[in-house]
Symmetry: C2
Subunit: 401 residues, 2 copies
Amino acid sequence: MTTGTAAMRVPLSKRGARVPASVGAEPHDIIALGSGHGFPGVFPDLTEMARTALNEYRHETLQYGPTLGLPEMREWIADYLKENGVNVTADNVLIVNGAKHGLDLISRLLLDEGDTVVVTAPTYFTGIPIFKTFGANFVEVSQDLDGLVVEELEKTLERRAHERKALPKLIYNVPDYHNPAGVTMSRERRRALVELADAHGMYIVEDSPYRRVRFEGENEPMIKAFDRADTVFILGTFSKLVAPGLRIGWIVTSPEFVARLAQLKSDLGSCPLTQRIILEFCKGGHLAEHTTRVQNLYRSHRDAMVAALREHLPEASFTVPHGGYYLWLTLPTHINADKLTARALEEKVGIIPGSKFFAGAGPQGKGAPTNHIRLCYSHADPDEIAEGIKRLARAVRAMNS
Amino acid sequence: MTTGTAAMRVPLSKRGARVPASVGAEPHDIIALGSGHGFPGVFPDLTEMARTALNEYRHETLQYGPTLGLPEMREWIADYLKENGVNVTADNVLIVNGAKHGLDLISRLLLDEGDTVVVTAPTYFTGIPIFKTFGANFVEVSQDLDGLVVEELEKTLERRAHERKALPKLIYNVPDYHNPAGVTMSRERRRALVELADAHGMYIVEDSPYRRVRFEGENEPMIKAFDRADTVFILGTFSKLVAPGLRIGWIVTSPEFVARLAQLKSDLGSCPLTQRIILEFCKGGHLAEHTTRVQNLYRSHRDAMVAALREHLPEASFTVPHGGYYLWLTLPTHINADKLTARALEEKVGIIPGSKFFAGAGPQGKGAPTNHIRLCYSHADPDEIAEGIKRLARAVRAMNS
């Protein structure tokens, strides 16, 4: 369609004008250590589950599904959370089209122009534009090896109260194998965070896609396990444990909020076909075995990345993640990671500069620390990872020279 | 989760507070002439397409898909629209999770609190709460047998200009086999609507889920076929022609808006698995045959409803729809359709009162005409339809007595 003779247009909405008219292209022909894609070889064979879903359940799977999700799916998730020490029922569960969709819905429920969201620095970078779409501002909080530093947040809130600034509406965090930092919040910090949120009437979003992608040790209790006042929304997904392409996730909250979020969902129910395929997979007892397979595979990927980094980039520092998909690399301070990312691409390795993970930063990451990168070990295989880190090291050397 | 001791909560967003905390329950054990569900017997066998999608295309279908949709899917839709006289390419197509999701995204792109949307009276009732979520007001326009009365809209705009009211931002319509009115817009009205929108810089949303569910005659050109200035957004879906459960629809607009809408989409791409299943179905040449099957089936459903209405409810008037899923019934003016709906439910037949289809009406349809109902002939079979209309007639008799 060519642009014709229309009069000057009515303007877009504030939201519509705020988002740029561009979509990030995914790089090809390079070793991808940037995006959090799954390893293709670990995707399960779902053919038999799809056959059952499309035959025995055809009237369910090809019809409009229930707005809140298939009742069996909601029950299965409630049971799954009970195994995680969270006492909820199917009434607390809303099925959504992936965790990102869930975050968008929670933002729609809670956020007006100018509201404030608490995030870690660094934080999940896909969440930042979602919050910004709703006109949110940010309070950033540091992390250490025990995760989000609750004491620091407490002091920030006190200072804001003195300055008569409004309370943040919600606290967003990935407490298990944090994206991008890889750290896990301690039990005590989780409890303290719920107490702090309750004391100020704020909500918490516990985004936990990597919880079962665990390589060592035991999980901490979920933040939701300390919740006594419907303070905590859980965001969950099958993307990181089973397959991203299924686009099925969940929100756990009070039944009242489940109903309000469903009204904001505007999609006539998430896909009943993929829900049924997942149910057949989970109820058929395949999930436990598959979880072990995923854990073993990504552990070997992580090990390959850690070994390659120690060999080829000894000047970089990092905390070894005990689960999840990501490793947060700190480079010598004179290395500018934004420039390194471009240089690495010339060496045919894709990484994401750390500056993109700071919500408080300006356009092009202005004001954010410049010597971090996020490395993802899920998508490439161990040999590619080793080669990718070699290439990255070459790019770092080129920056030094 | 029981309610505990949290301090008073930060308030929900305006959007979040505006939607009620309730979800419509679907009735059971009754003949459903209310909702626009598909007839279960006409859903295609997609087993073989799913097998191919999950084996040959596993690395595509279980991985994150492209944000804009599978390139082949976008191309297929562009070609499909070319058959409808609309000259677009894959760059004009964004894949979404059903047409309702598309309408939500377009509203996000365009609407701010207090903006105005032009709709027909009556209009698609699922659209009304979406527009309201974004704080929209409505201008309602009448329809006759040639669809939306463009001359009336023109006069309304002139009057609003005199009153120094802001221009509406968009005009929403279902031009083919209108939901709920069943009428189809004439070619001349379509052309006039585009000219009027262009003259005032407004956008048009052409929501066309029923276009190929045609029983007689030929289609009019799409509104988009008259578009010379990227005025018209097309909303499309596979729900009404193939199966609602697939949750795949599309928006057609300028490449710039495709990119902006994708940024607002927040779902990391629509499900690549269901996209690939649909592609295998369409590219395998099954769609044309299936379309004929759907047309023949729903024509027989429509005929059954028309015959039963003429026999059992001769006092009601209606226009015979030449396609689509719905028949708009006008009852004698002393019949209150809201009360009739409750009475019909006692007779075990589900209908939707016409008052729900008027966007300008107040809560509980206040101010809307009260003697219409929407009947849907897609979901029940011809025998059930005949029995359902008999039951409806009994309910009308009971109202008279």
